[in-house]
């Protein structure tokens, strides 16, 4: 073979080469089959597992906050409502990724939202974070400004997030009942906390696809909604109008009577246990639900003086501040216990009547002191040192005689007494549907039922040395006058589910019949007498049948600790007594005013309850049934006289039971004092100006009327060029003196203005 042929042969493919090509081809076919098998494993066998993991990382879960339910009063007035607001946050990670200008963002946002620039700049530098809250709960206008800023500067790292904010249209009204919410919209007190689950609803979710950098995707419509269920609306039994009256008068009393340790007032419908009003003030007063952490300015100034003790790590100032906040949130009517004092005699009375141990013809002798109580070392004194003498049962109630009630208590006996105490629910919580209810403090069964020591039973009979909450007191009291049925007090009338329209009414829960209808009837009669002719006179409202019981108790534990005598004065009243529709318990903790009336439930608490009834009963549609005499004593509205002839004016004033003097000698009235429609006491001397002008813009100093009789007060005012209007007991009642005046003594009032005074029968002795 030639050399050329040999080389040529090497350029030809031989069988070995073809075989090897086939071998490689087969190898690749096998490898590709392996790939197919691998794909089968991943795509078919592991499909579900991997898909779940993929969806997990691909989606962004956004919460749709369920709208929090609205709280209404019983007439549909809104007490608490949520509105959509927005929260602004920065994503510092995005800020870095997009290389955005941190200074620009910080200065822009600080300008719009009034947030400190330095703080914002610091947030922008936290590039490890993806969420830095700039400002929470901003309103629509501010949010619009932020949006404009984002658009104008095409910023990608500022985000707005939907949020809700709670609004309380009435500010501080029924603050302790309604409660408030925290920044996370969870209830922190009152109904907001107790019904948080109902109000919150169920948050929804939107699952959207996101891309690797966390932004939501543009091209995919993969979206999954989980509907949110809005919170349910809650309608309270509270009547905002009654609440307003109650708060007005209670706060007035706190101010006027210099009440130092707070006050509470509960108004309840005895027919079903619905609470129509519940007001509570701490030592520093109420608070605004829209700013629950805010404190009164004078208190803040005081707190600023609290020095931190350098020796300890304790932040005294912050502690004092949070103590003050807790104090203002505290619901005194539920959370604090007190010795109910003589108000509790109503219960003792009902027990004794029910058991047939006393009747209307029973008589009791009070000599001022008794010594024969087994187990009691010291004599028991009645508050009237000279004693009440011989009294019928009704008189004993009117006098609030401790000795008579100690005797009644001993007749009942400890076992029976405790049986009824339990039946009235005084040893258990009432079960009111809001959190914060405290328990009561009683003796143990063994010590109370000790046959040899009846001192506890004796003092319990007139409401002393045990502690109950105001809500327990009024609940038990209501049971004595409503026909004997104990109802669970409640604040929620109905719950409305807006999505289904389903309304769940809260049915009044009658716990048990404690006393009979007949006993209740007799108790009502005696309580009505207390107000009509007894120690409760100051609570009377002309034309209404009001019954009630006064109470004054020394804070025994406080006295033991400090030696200072502090009092809780209270009054529990009901009206109208033929068919009670409202029971009000009002208590003032530690009133300190020394001038004017004495510190008793009858002189301090009863007039306030009377004033509340005077406002609320007409609101409830109950018309007063006035006697002729009462009608004459009614305050009158000054008719419009200007422009009329003097003769006509004289005629009008006479028919309105008003007196007058005429200044000037014109034939037509050119001016009058007080102005038309002002309410004044009957027989007020109106000044008619005929041709002359009254002095303009002249102020006069209001004299101190406290403790003066009506006649004296009237004269004092008239001599200063002021007019009088009186409320409370009738002006002609013996012993009636001015307790409170509407413009403080020493303050200026315009010449010719009307000063209102509250007349109180100061002869009514309080009771221990």
């Amino acid at each position: 073979m030639s050399k050329r042929a040999e080389r040529r042969a090497n350029n030809e493919m031989n069988k070995s080469m073809l075989r090897r090509i086939l071998l490689i081809m087969c190898a690749f076919c096998m490898l590709f089959t392996l790939l197919g098998a691998g794909l089968f494993h991943i795509q078919i066998t592991r499909h579900e597992e991997l898909q779940a993991k993929a969806i997990d990382i691909q989606t962004r879960d956004t919460t749709i906050t369920a709208s929090r339910g609205t709280i209404y009063d019983c007439n549909g007035e809104i007490l608490a409502q949520s509105a959509s607001v927005e929260t602004v946050f920065i994503d510092p990670y995005e800020l870095r990724s997009y290389k955005e200008n941190a200074e620009l963002i910080a200065s822009g946002l600080s300008g719009i939202l009034t947030v400190d620039y330095g703080k914002l700049y610091e947030m922008t530098q936290k590039t490890g974070s993806r969420y830095q809250t700039v400002k929470r709960k901003i309103e629509a206008e501010e949010a619009a400004l932020v949006r404009t800023f984002i658009k104008e500067n095409s910023v990608k790292s500022i985000h707005l997030e939907a949020d809700t904010k709670r609004y309380y249209p009435h500010g501080s009204l029924a603050a302790q009942v309604i409660g408030f919410v925290g920044t996370d919209n969870t209830g922190l007190g009152g109904i907001e906390a107790s019904y948080d689950t109902e109000l919150t609803g169920v948050n929804g979710r939107v699952i959207r696809l996101k891309n690797g950098s966390g932004t939501e995707m543009l091209f995919n419509d993969y979206e999954n909604y989980f509907d949110s269920a809005d919170g349910r609306d809650i309608t309270l039994t509270i009547d905002a109008t009654i609440q307003r009256y109650v708060e007005k008068h209670l706060w007035q009393a706190v101010v006027d009577l210099q009440v130092k340790s707070g006050a509470a007032c509960i108004a309840i419908d005895p027919r079903n246990g619905e609470i129509k009003a519940l007001a509570s003030y701490g030592a520093t007063g109420g608070y605004n639900l829209n700013d629950p952490w805010g404190l009164p300015e004078d208190l803040l100034a005081e707190l600023a003086l609290v020095a931190d003790d350098p020796a300890t790590e304790v932040n005294e100032q912050a502690n004092a501040k949070s103590d003050a906040q807790y104090a203002q949130w505290r619901n005194k009517a539920l959370s604090d216990t007190y010795e109910p004092g003589s108000v509790f005699k109503t219960i003792t009375l009902a027990i004794a009547l029910e058991e047939g141990l006393v009747n209307e013809s029973s008589t009791f002798y009070c000599g001022g002191t008794i010594n024969n109580i087994p187990g009691r070392d010291i004599p028991l004194h009645c508050h009237k040192a000279t004693g009440h003498g011989l009294q019928t049962l009704s008189e004993a109630v009117q006098n609030s005689c401790n000795i008579a009630f100690a005797e009644i208590g001993l007749r009942i006996g400890a076992e029976k007494f405790y049986k009824y105490v339990d039946a009235f629910g005084f040893r258990a919580k009432t079960g009111i549907d809001v959190s914060g209810e405290a328990g009561s403090i009683w003796w143990s069964d063994e010590s109370f039922m000790n046959a040899k020591d009846k001192s506890s039973l004796a003092s319990a009979s007139f409401g002393q040395t045990f502690n109950i909450t105001p809500i327990q007191m009024i609940t038990g009291f209501a049971a004595t006058i409503n026909g004997g049925i104990l109802y669970t007090p409640h604040l929620v009338k109905e719950i409305t589910d807006n999505s289904t329209g389903l309304v769940t009414p809260v049915r009044p829960e009658s716990v048990r019949q404690v006393v009979s209808e007949q006993t209740s009837e007799r108790v009502r009669q005696m309580l009505e007498n207390v107000v009509a002719i007894g120690s409760g006179k100051n609570a009377a409202v002309p034309g209404y049948r009001i019954g009630g019981k006064t109470g004054t108790s020394t804070k025994t534990s406080k006295e033991a600790a400090t030696g200072e005598k502090e009092y809780i004065v209270s009054f529990c009243g009901a009206a109208p007594m033929d068919d009670p529709r409202l029971v009000i318990l009002l208590l003032l903790d530690n009133p300190t005013r020394q001038a004017g009336v004495e510190i008793y439930g009858s002189t301090m608490a009863a007039p306030v309850v009377g004033n509340i009834f005077a406002d609320v009963l007409p609101y409830l549609g109950i018309a007063p049934q006035l006697t002729e005499e009462q009608q004459r004593e009614q305050n009158v509205s000054v008719p419009k006289l200007v422009g009329h002839t003097v003769t006509d004016a004289e005629k009008a004033l006479r028919s309105a039971r008003l007196e007058y003097t005429i200044v000037g000698d014109g034939g037509t009235v050119t001016a009058q004092l007080p102005a038309a429609n002002a309410t004044v006491s009957p027989s007020t001397k109106i000044i008619i100006y005929a041709g002359e002008e009254p002095p303009r813009n002249q102020s006069v100093t209001v004299p101190d009327l406290t403790g003066k009789t009506y006649a004296k007060a009237k004269t004092m005012l008239e001599s200063s060029g002021l007019f009088i209007r009186s409320t409370g007991v009738p002006p002609n009642l013996t012993g009636a003196i001015v307790s409170v005046q509407s413009v403080a003594a020493g303050a200026d009032a315009e010449f010719g203005s009307v000063i209102e005074v509250i007349l109180v029968d100061n002869t009514v002795e309080g009771v221990f």
């Binding site: 794909l39 592991r46 891309n211 690797g212």
Partner: protein
């Protein structure tokens, strides 16, 4: 080149010319249509999937959904022109192929065989340029793989592959470089030509070593793998002794097992240490950092994440996990063309190395199997062309190109399905990369050119 080689070349060319003249009429004048159609089919599918995979991120990054796609499309057009041009140059002939454009008459004597040495030298020089500090060299992410040419960048490693294929094919046709060990059995009357080590194995080794060293300096691990794979396939086809082959395979297998065992041991130790640290109350993040540091270098960590994809899902095995999520989400039928969610989510390199994951997510198992089948058909057809090639050189060139192609497909799909550790090999016709696509099409053009000269007996 030695005088020896030159002499041989002239002789071979004269011989080939003579043969050409003799057999001109028997040759097919058109390209192999089946191969052509499969190529174009893959190109079209590749472009469609590229668009699907890239539009979201193109829009996000460039505000133009078609940014990546248009780039690739432009290069595809250029590549098709390059492919058509490549078919006009004969693989192993002095004569130009019939039907050549008139203006290219000057290249009538041009053939890939004649260009082989020049291609190799030029491509190696280009490859070397990438690691020089010249301004033409462009580094990306610390890897110096690119060269700047006025308007675009390209990887000389792509060109080196062609250079290597042509050079090896030519060298394997030289009987003095017999790759058989020992004496070659002599046929009666045949002269024994004993190939010396310096003449046979050494030249291949030197060329390979130079390329691998430069690639290691770039560094470009994936290109080195492909170059090695090409070399092995070509040497095996070209007649490397079975015993050498077997020894190599055994050696490689032992090496792989040793590496895996070593890595498994280090991994287990590092894992134990991390768990211990966490149990001792150390910060999880710090412990994880220590774990990663212990596993150390790049390639080592890749193998760990291949063996244990669940170990460090936010670190080393992040990419492979994302890829598996995409492929797995596809299921049997896929989520639908254009509907991939992983591509806009966390899947990295969604239009590059991991484009097949997007394809699997969108078209499911059925689509994936279909695509692998099409790839296989193309490869089989390529090998069929190699088996019917005019001569040994053409056959070896086609084997080299199709082998390279098959290796790339296998490695890419193998990596994204976690059958193989991560290498960074792109999927031909699918992955984004204009110049690479153009060169792939040019290579297909060479195969098509070879198909024009196939020895086929016409029937009928």
């Amino acid at each position: 080149m030695s005088a020896d080689v030159r002499e041989y070349r002239y002789a071979a060319e004269a011989e080939s010319e003579a043969e050409d003249a003799a057999t001109e009429e028997r040759r097919r004048r058109h390209v192999d249509w089946q191969f052509m159609i499969l190529t174009v089919l893959l190109l079209v599918i590749g472009l469609v999937i590229l668009f699907s995979a890239s539009f979201a991120n193109s829009y996000f990054d460039y505000n133009d959904a078609g940014y990546v796609f248009k780039n690739q499309l432009t290069w595809a057009v250029i590549g098709v022109i390059a492919m058509m041009f490549a078919t006009t140059v004969r693989v192993s002939s002095l004569r130009r192929a019939p039907g050549t454009v008139r203006g290219l008459a000057k290249v009538r004597y041009l053939s890939y065989r004649r260009m082989a040495a020049a291609m190799l030298y030029v491509s190696i020089i280009l490859l070397f340029l990438t690691i020089t500090p010249l301004p033409i060299a462009a580094a990306r992410n610390g890897a110096k793989r690119w060269l700047n040419l006025v308007a675009f960048q390209f990887q000389p490693s792509e060109v080196v592959k062609i250079g290597l294929i042509l050079a090896f094919a030519k060298m394997l046709c030289d009987d003095r470089r017999n790759l058989r060990l020992g004496r070659v059995k002599r046929a009666p009357g045949e002269r024994i030509r004993k190939a010396g080590f310096t003449r046979s194995v050494l030249p291949f080794g030197i060329i390979l070593a130079v390329i691998i060293i430069i690639l290691a300096l770039q560094p470009h691990f994936s290109a080195a793998i492909i170059i090695c794979a090409i070399a092995v396939i070509m040497l095996f086809t070209g007649g490397l002794d079975e015993r050498v082959m077997a020894a190599g395979i055994i050696l490689a297998a032992v090496g792989v097992v040793a590496v895996i065992v070593y890595i498994e041991k280090s991994y287990a130790a590092a894992m134990l240490k991390m768990e211990q640290e966490i149990a001792d109350g150390a910060n999880r993040q710090v412990a994880l950092q220590n774990f990663r540091a212990a596993l150390g270098d790049f390639h080592f960590a890749r193998i760990v994440s291949w063996l244990h994809p669940e170990a460090d899902p936010s670190g080393g095995s992040y990419q492979i996990n994302q890829s598996l999520y995409a492929i797995g989400s596809g299921g049997l039928l896929g989520v639908g063309l254009g509907q991939s969610r992983q591509k806009v989510s966390y899947l990295p390199e969604e239009h590059n190395d991991y484009i097949f994951s997007v394809y699997c997510e969108e078209l499911g198992f059925i689509g994936a199997i279909l695509l692998i089948f099409i790839f296989a058909l193309l490869i089989i057809r390529g090998f069929w062309i190699a088996m019917h090639a005019k001569d040994k050189f053409s056959s070896l060139v086609v084997i080299g190109i199709m082998g390279m192609f098959a290796v790339q497909v296998f490695f890419n799909i193998g990596v994204v399905t976690n059958l193989l550790p991560s290498t960074g090999i792109s999927l031909p016709f699918f992955s984004y990369g204009g110049t690479a696509l153009m060169i792939q099409l040019f290579e297909m053009g060479i195969v098509l050119s070879a198909s024009r000269d196939m020895k086929l007996t016409r029937k009928g």
